[in-house]
C-alpha cells in the first residue's frame, strides 16, 4: 500500500510540474524516460540473473501459459464491448480503445487518425489509466485473481514499463512469461485497433 501511494505521489507530482512548467526545452523528456527505463530493465535483469533459483523455477512453468496473451486479448475485448454499451460510442469503437492494451501512444495516434481527436483522446487517457492501474494495483490484482492477473492487466506494456512491478509482485520466474506476453500483445495492437476502427 505504501509503495502504491508513493507511485501515485510521484505521478501526481509529475503532473503538477508538467502543468506549471510545460515540457522542458533544454532536454528531451522522452530521451530521459527511455534512459531511465533501460537502466531499470538492466537492474531488474541483474536481480533475476543474480538469483540462481529463478531459472530453475522458470523451467517448471506450465507450457499452457503460452495462451496468456489470447486470454488478455479475449478478456479485454469482451469487457470493453460490454462497457461500451454504457458510453456514447459504438461497441466497435469501445473495442478499438480496449485494443490499445495500455500502448497509449500508438493507439491514441491510430484512433485519432481514423476516428477523430475525441475518441483518440479517450484511447490515450484510457490506456494511460490501464498502465497506471497495473502499476498501482498489481498486488491487489494478484491477490484477487491470481499471479497471472497483473501480467494480463499490463497488456502490451509487460515487456517493459510494468515488468519490474510484475516481477516484484508475481515472482522472478514469471518474468519470461511477462516479456513474451508483452511482445505478442504489443504486435497485435496495430492490427486490432485498425480492424475495430474499420468496423464503425
Amino acid at each position: 500500500m505504501k509503495g502504491s501511494l508513493l507511485i501515485i505521489g510521484f505521478f501526481v507530482l509529475g503532473i503538477i510540474v508538467g502543468r506549471s512548467t510545460g515540457l522542458p526545452t533544454a532536454w528531451s523528456l522522452a530521451d530521459v524516460s527511455f534512459t531511465a527505463l533501460c537502466l531499470l530493465m538492466a537492474a531488474v535483469g541483474f536481480s533475476i540473473g543474480h538469483d540462481p533459483s529463478a531459472l530453475s523455477r522458470f523451467r517448471r512453468l506450465n507450457p499452457r501459459l503460452a495462451l496468456l496473451p489470447l486470454c488478455t486479448i479475449g478478456g479485454t475485448l469482451t469487457a470493453c464491448a460490454l462497457a461500451s454499451l454504457l458510453t456514447p460510442h459504438s461497441v466497435a469503437e469501445g473495442m478499438a480503445v480496449g485494443a490499445g492494451f495500455g500502448y497509449y501512444s500508438l493507439s491514441g495516434i491510430l484512433i485519432t487518425g481514423s476516428k477523430g481527436a475525441e475518441l483518440g483522446t479517450v484511447a490515450l487517457l484510457s490506456n494511460i489509466i490501464r498502465e497506471l492501474l497495473t502499476l498501482l494495483g498489481a498486488p491487489l490484482l494478484a491477490r484477487w485473481f491470481g499471479s497471472l492477473a497483473p501480467i494480463a492487466a499490463g497488456g502490451a506494456t509487460t515487456a517493459d514499463t510494468t515488468l519490474p512491478v510484475i516481477t516484484r509482485t508475481c515472482g522472478d520466474e514469471l518474468a519470461v512469461v511477462s516479456i513474451y506476453h508483452g511482445m505478442v500483445v504489443d504486435f497485435s495492437v496495430p492490427f486490432l485497433v485498425t480492424f475495430f476502427c474499420s468496423l464503425g
Binding site: G49, G75, C80, L148, V165
Partner: protein, 95 residues
C-alpha cells in the same frame, strides 16, 4: 522494445556473473527508477494541455473502459490459472 529487452539481458548476464557476490542496493535502485519513470510520465501527461482540458469531459468514459479492460483480462487470466493448476494436479495424481 528490443533495446529495452537487450538492457535486461545484459543485466541478467552481469547478475549471473556476480551471483556469488552480494550486491546491495539493487531493489532500492529498482524502486528509485520506477518512481522517476512515474514522475516523468506524469510530467508528460501534465504538460499536454489537450489531455488535461479533456479530462473532465472524457475522463469518465476512459476510466470506465480501462477498468473494464483491466478486470476483463484479469478474469480471463484467473480462468487460465485455474485450468493450469487443475492440469498440474491431475498430472501429479497420474504419475
Amino acid at each position: 522494445m528490443f533495446t529495452v529487452i537487450g538492457c535486461m539481458l545484459a543485466g541478467m548476464i552481469a547478475g549471473s556473473l556476480l551471483s556469488r557476490r552480494r550486491v546491495p542496493g539493487i531493489q532500492g535502485t529498482v524502486n528509485l527508477l520506477i518512481w522517476l519513470l512515474l514522475f516523468l510520465l506524469g510530467w508528460e501527461a501534465g504538460s499536454n494541455r489537450q489531455l488535461i482540458d479533456a479530462l473532465p469531459r472524457l475522463g469518465g468514459e476512459a476510466l470506465l473502459l480501462s477498468t473494464a479492460a483491466t478486470l476483463g483480462s484479469a478474469v480471463a487470466a484467473a480462468l487460465l490459472l485455474r485450468c493450469v493448476r487443475r492440469k498440474g494436479r491431475k498430472e501429479e495424481h497420474g504419475s
